[in-house]
Amino acid sequence: MEQQQQRVRLQVKVGDDTLVMEFSKSATVGEIIPQIEQMASELRDDGKKGYGQSDSK
């Protein structure tokens, strides 16, 4: 419960997509940017491959 209160859930608009991401409330704006960049990069790469295609992981 306490742990949930320390998190904030944000709708992050990345291009045409809106992602729901969860961050620590005590994080700064600068600190969450790498996570957003990572997510945006993955989304973009997925878009190139085509959504629905599975990674070969």
């Binding site: 904030v8 859930r9 944000l10 709708q11 992050v12 608009k13 990345v14 291009g15 809106t18 961050f23 620590s24 409330k25 005590s26 994080a27 700064t28 704006v29 600068g30 969450i32 940017i33 957003i36 960049e37 945006a40 990069s41 973009r44 790469d45």
Partner: protein, 135 residues
């Protein structure tokens, strides 16, 4: 090469958020923000216009040397497509000075243009060379 998506800033309904601001100070749970990008490897955007090519009048199209000499000065111009060395020797008052200028790339554009225009040297040097030697 695939570039990583780069986020320049985060914007909310309040405006662009300071990097050092804490999330809990600015955003409530469920809040909306928008990522502002600096660059992506998506479809290529407009290509920046190439730098203005160096121009000279009259046109200089090959590497070489031009030498100009007057009563009180001598100027050697070693030029190529993007670089030139400009040596100016000034004589007078019983002495001589040797100014050498080396310019490269875009730094030279203005000067080179000026130099090209000033083939008669009247405008830039106040004197017309008495002899011009083409190297």
């Amino acid at each position: 090469m695939v570039k990583k998506v780069m986020v320049k800033a985060i914007r909310s309904s309040q405006g662009v958020l300071m990097m050092s601001a804490f999330l809990h100070e600015l955003l409530a749970d469920g809040g909306q923000v928008e990522a502002m990008f600096t660059a992506t490897s998506g479809p290529p955007g407009p290509t920046p216009a190439p730098a203005q090519p160096m121009q000279s009048w009259p046109p200089i199209t090959q590497t070489g040397t031009r030498r100009y000499e007057g009563e009180t000065f001598k100027l050697d111009l070693d030029y190529s497509a993007l670089t030139y060395t400009w040596r100016k020797f000034l004589f007078g008052f019983g002495g001589e000075s040797d100014n050498q200028y080396n310019f490269t790339d875009t730094q030279t554009v203005g000067n080179f243009h000026s130099l090209g225009r000033s083939v008669d040297f009247k405008q830039d040097f106040g004197r017309i060379p008495t002899r011009r030697v083409w190297g």
